[in-house]
Symmetry: C2
Subunit: 207 residues, 2 copies
DNA sequence: ACAGTTCTGTACTGAGTTGTCAACTACGGT
DNA sequence: ACCGTAGTTGACAACTCAGTACAGAACTGT
């Protein structure tokens, strides 16, 4: 009975996320968002309640994509667990993977974890953002830990190792590559680091 | 023959650094800087040429402190190298160490690497900042790598391992803890992760 | 066709921002 | 004691920003 929305919500939030990624939260004005998304200021306020609202909705969408993709990419039978983890780690080094078909971003700095970047910039004064970033991390940590436990069951990882600790460590490495990638280090170097980290995972003791 | 400066340059830059750390670059106005440093707007422009100038000078000072402390804390005889690295790693997890006597910052988020934080926020559009952050990283990387080579000479680290790669990896872990620390994770958890990372360093093969 | 309801974009307001400038202040040499 | 030089200050003008309000456009159900 009323005029339907002329834009696609997810498409708009995705464009906003890209903008926030490249210019930061405080570095993007509502006009920037309007230009990046292609819809007017009024629509932005009506649909998302202003700049902060856009950010929260964009982060929520990011979380949803993360929570859908990561477990799907890491879960599976015990036999291939370590290989799945290996593949995931190598992909993550070129940017947090969110879908199967998406190629690595051309600009490494723009591929860093969206939630982490926002938390670094405004997390100190914005508990909502901090919380959201923590949730993103938790989803990944449980998925990686589960994958590690599968690898342990399959005899590929030392069964005495704490899977949760190792998962944390691997994710911290990924977050670290986000930061170092923003400096302008070459993807090849980052990939080499990821391989080193993977190689250091504790294997079972053979007798 | 002229009026001497009434403020201490380094003191002002240190206060500015604190301000930039807590509110970010774009989140800090020149008035904020003026309030934090205690000197007027005009003096800031006269001495440092505006907000961006203040940032660059503050980062230069940060780099200098880093370049002085890290090698001093990590260099030394081969025997204690691994232990020095261990101590440095554990301290770094509570914030990048810059001096011997400074206690860990009360707020973990405010203790993260200054250069890394600025590079994350405005690095995409500011090559100067990116360069400075890269320099900070390089100084640390060479110091850690040198320490690792000393540990290798002493038989504490696998001599076949690539010291440069390991140093990169360790620093990436530290940068990762900066990010995760900003989420609000407990220092105890971060310390535990650092211990895990240290424990995974490749030891020499015993026969 | 029409009416009602929702969407869209532009114009406006008040607050906040940056960078500059001229007046003022303090100090050292003479 | 004075005077020139350099440091300091607060105020100012131009601009940008977030958020709001209003008028027009678009679509659906009758």
């Amino acid at each position: 009975m009323a005029r339907p929305r002329s834009f696609d919500r997810d498409h708009v939030l995705h464009a906003a996320e890209r903008q926030f990624r490249t210019t930061g939260y405080n570095g993007t004005s509502v006009d920037d968002l309007s230009a990046a998304t292609g819809i007017g200021r009024g629509s932005l306020y009506a649909a998302f309640d202003g700049k902060h609202g856009v950010l929260m909705h964009a982060m929520t969408g990011y979380y949803a994509r993360l929570a859908q993709f990561a477990p799907q990419a890491l879960a599976g039978p015990d036999e291939g667990a370590l290989e799945r983890l290996h593949r995931y780690l190598l992909r993550a080094v070129n940017g947090v993977p969110l879908a199967d078909d998406v190629p690595p971003a051309p600009d490494r700095a723009a591929a860093a974890c969206f939630a982490a970047k926002m938390a670094m910039e405004i997390g100190t004064s914005d508990p909502e953002v901090r919380r959201m970033a923590r949730d993103c991390f938790s989803v990944l940590a449980t998925a990686v830990a589960e994958c590690l436990r599968a690898a342990q069951r399959n005899g590929d990882i030392d069964p005495d190792a704490d899977a949760d600790d190792l998962a944390y460590l691997l994710l911290i490495v990924i977050r670290g590559t986000d930061v170092v990638g923003a400096y302008g280090h070459s993807p090849a170097r980052l990939t080499s680091i990821a391989e080193s980290a993977f190689a250091l995972l504790p294997r079972p003791h053979h007798h």
